[in-house]
């Protein structure tokens, strides 16, 4: 009886290990080609862990311009309403014909414009890589667990105040430069 129980536990462990290994993949782009801009399809596609393990590219090129705009709005709303970040652990990109200014999500017009860092060739990982990938899994989860909204606010505030500091520093340098020149001219007579 005990042996049978042990055997069952081993089978479960082996099975879990196997499925985990199988699920582990390189963090390369996951391309999602949208055929329609329906709410149902988007509801099925969008979930909280979509950018947990790899960057995502929504290809909206097949949709018309109105459909693209609606879909971009839906994706953006999803991330904001769920208090999730579309920048980390992995970024979410939109491939669209619209201008970048219509959304806060990173938007590109061509696939070639996507960052090359995640554009790796996917293949089976060896033992070392699998081990490293499993280590990264913990980091991904830690990064994801941060409060996205609070972090975005903090980053925005930090950016705004440092932009002001930069401008004031430029102004200060300008006045300091003039004053130094005048003082030097006075000294030289």
């Amino acid at each position: 009886m005990v042996l049978v129980f042990h055997y069952l536990i081993m089978r479960v462990d082996f099975h879990q290990g196997f499925t985990n290994n199988k699920a582990m993949s390189l963090p390369v782009y996951l391309h999602i080609n949208l055929k329609t801009a329906s709410l149902e399809e988007m509801g099925n596609l969008l979930h909280s862990d979509m950018n947990l393990k790899h960057p995502v590219v929504f290809n909206l090129k097949t949709l018309d311009l109105d459909g693209q705009r609606e879909t971009i709005g839906l994706i953006e709303n999803f991330f904001v309403s769920q208090n999730l970040s579309y920048k980390y652990p992995y970024p979410v990109y939109i491939l669209s014909d619209h201008e970048e200014s219509i959304t806060k999500l990173p938007l590109v017009h061509e696939l070639q414009k996507l960052p090359k860092f995640f554009g790796q060739r996917e293949s089976k990982m060896n033992v070392r890589e699998t081990h490293l990938s499993s280590k990264n899994k913990l980091l991904q989860q830690e990064v994801k667990n941060n409060d996205a909204l609070a972090n975005t606010d903090n980053i925005d505030n930090y950016g705004d105040s440092h932009r002001v500091i930069f401008e004031l520093e430029q102004e200060r340098k300008f006045y300091r430069g003039i004053l130094n020149k005048l003082m030097k001219a006075q000294k030289d007579g």
Binding site: N146, Y158, V164, L179
Partner: protein, 127 residues
């Protein structure tokens, strides 16, 4: 320091037990691990992926540090307002000094302005 050397025409019997220390074997690579020293494409790709995963781990670590340590710290002990105030004070001081220098008797600024005004009003007077 020991160096791994290519052994030529060795009898398989002679090198039994030392296979893992030998990097290349002339005319017979069947007992060696695949790709060792040969630079096969599979191994190159594996190395590439390992580097990529290492870089990604570094990226995630930095991201984690920024989000969980640096951002809360900078939000809690924000020095921006103080810096902005100090810069504004210094700019005011510099402007004041500039004005004093320019307003001095015989200063370059006064001379230039005097030249412009004199030139204009002299011509008006003559006319």
């Amino acid at each position: 320091m020991d160096k791994k050397r290519l052994i030529k025409n060795s009898e398989p019997e002679d090198i039994k037990g030392f296979e893992e220390f030998i990097e290349g074997q002339h005319n017979d690579s069947s007992f060696l691990p695949k790709g060792v020293g040969g630079g096969s494409k599979k191994n190159e790709a594996g190395f590439e992926h390992f580097t990529f995963l290492t870089d990604d781990a570094e990226r995630l670590t930095r991201l984690k540090r920024m989000l969980s340590e640096k951002l809360p710290f900078s939000a809690k002990f924000d020095q921006s307002d103080k810096l902005i105030k100090d810069q504004r004070d210094e700019i005011e001081l510099l402007k004041k000094k500039l004005f004093e220098v320019c307003d001095k008797e015989g200063s370059g600024y006064r001379k230039s302005i005097g030249g412009i005004f004199d030139g204009y009003f002299e011509s008006v007077k003559k006319a």
